[in-house]
Subunit: 391 residues, 2 copies
Amino acid sequence: MTAAPTPRRPWEETASAGVSEVRTLALDGLFTLAGGRTLERVDVAYETYGELDATASNAVLVCHALSGDSHVAGLRPGEDPARAKPGWWDIMVGPGKAIDTDRFFVVCSNVLGGCSGTTGPASIDPATGAPYASGFPLVTIEDMVDVQAKLLDALGIDSLAAVVGGSMGGMQAIAWARRYPERVRAIVADATTPRLGAQAIAFNEVGRQAILTDPDFANGHYYDALAQPDVGLGIARMIGHITYLSDDSMRAKFGRRLVDRSDYRYEFVHEFEVESYLAHQGRSFVDRFDANTYLYMTKAMDYFDLAVDADSLAAALRETRARWLVLSFSSDWLFPTASSLELVRALQVVGAEVSYAEITSPYGHDAFLLEPERQHAYIAPFLAHAGSEDR
Amino acid sequence: MTAAPTPRRPWEETASAGVSEVRTLALDGLFTLAGGRTLERVDVAYETYGELDATASNAVLVCHALSGDSHVAGLRPGEDPARAKPGWWDIMVGPGKAIDTDRFFVVCSNVLGGCSGTTGPASIDPATGAPYASGFPLVTIEDMVDVQAKLLDALGIDSLAAVVGGSMGGMQAIAWARRYPERVRAIVADATTPRLGAQAIAFNEVGRQAILTDPDFANGHYYDALAQPDVGLGIARMIGHITYLSDDSMRAKFGRRLVDRSDYRYEFVHEFEVESYLAHQGRSFVDRFDANTYLYMTKAMDYFDLAVDADSLAAALRETRARWLVLSFSSDWLFPTASSLELVRALQVVGAEVSYAEITSPYGHDAFLLEPERQHAYIAPFLAHAGSEDR
């Protein structure tokens, strides 16, 4: 008797979204931000996966988190599939995956203020011919969503089958419900919150202080300098990383293990594995991310409050016409279940169609990047009903 | 009908331990540290409260936490009682309080490596005539305890009625059980752990990196410089502060309230109350604390592992003859209940007399400094049995 072949599971990497290239769109006209300032020119870097159907009704917008970009799945042109790391949510986006590119036209764009192609602090200010740096206006989650809406206009997409996002991406998904309720038919708010609490703001603030006080930060004008604020950005990233994991997952992953010996060295060096992990995370982040963007993204997250100018969360959600799926993770203490439940309750108050689950996972906030199977189990059936037929 | 006068509660500040003055003792002989290095001269700054009885049997050693000192209760000479802040554990130490100075002779000394009178990195190295700075040897919790034991020798105290400590002070209390089991009759391990997990080490490490990478740190040799590593120490303290509070207590204390206006400013300034609170905590800490000592204390905490050279926590505790009281706080996520329970279970395995409680409190790790009444309820009766009669 021979064993039956193991069936291929849809969230496995074998089902790749293929090769994806970044395109850039220059938005028409002046762009006005929530803070009142304007940008003369906004470029949006975006990628698409799958095919837009004839009625432009199968589009799913995926929104990225703090350190993400438009490259949500698959490989970049020229990358070796055997060695390259695929896009940041390859576990969820691809043929047969939860966000099925055989069925949906998936759009993902780098957010306003980002550092991966969309206009941000490193972009050239047309007024000066030099990078904006700290002259770039502060952006909000709503500003990011407005840019996405203009991108969709340009792509001929009036109505989204769904908007999906985790963490800061989930904030954008939530903001869509209020900003463009008529343009979105389903919303997946994953590991996110309608507003941060004091603890999360505090962690963001300490990270910002590490950057702002780095002598190489130079008030943000470091782009042409010999040194960049790598130390400050590295420290900010280390703090972030601790908050993305859970105590349990860190205990399981590192415990008290020492790097390369069983005895203490009695020096200020990296001795514990967790120290060397953090140092690596800090170092590798500064190679791919801009310190100014880190400041702008964390501030946008802190500012985000769905109910900031409404009487309540429910009042802010009164216009939603979308079906909702809200997911949280049991060990996520940065975007805890309690704040997802606040959102769910507000949606129930306004009579929205809302489905909710707390997924049991040891991985903390990072679970939304690390739990393909459990997220698939909720997101795939939810999106199965999000086709063109529900327009 | 007149209302009966409210009875005075023993934990109220009215029962002051009085005025306490720091004394300094120079230890005899060379002091050898766990790491193998030696110190030619160790001075210990200490304070005492109450009277030592004729048989020197009523001494209670109180051990301080990371940022504490020997001034556990009462006022310093010359301080105005109406305006001065009393010692760091005034809620627990004084006449009629849980650690009753009418009954016990309370000793509290600044730890080895500290910056409040006991020999540490800011002290003069006799070999060079200059401050040790980063030339000071790394210390362990066991080294701190050894210095305390020598201080007690000099004070004529063979046996402690109790050793009591919270947080890093609790680590010292636990270390006493292993290092000098014959000298301690009761142990209160409050908001502490027999070893830190990866998450707590990670937070300590990020704080250290903020200091070590501050350009004004100058490899620790900043004592005679114009600038000190205040920025790095301030950031380390901010991180620490977030971990000392709980998400709930921060939500209750600050929420999303803005400092001085109801609208966002769209600038990188302190807008949320929690940001300005953290900035204040960072600033005020650098005025009273030494960055090098911060490095040495956090490293000592990271190193502490009661079972480091034993097969198990229980094996490490086999020699204990003390009665134990272990306390944890429900919202303390830095020294969580789970690690207190590890200690309790190990003590049960070796048949030690151990009493345990998780105190319900919203205040996170700081609860041990903020919950007089609930701690009194456990510590006072526990110590009531810790007199000379139990020798």
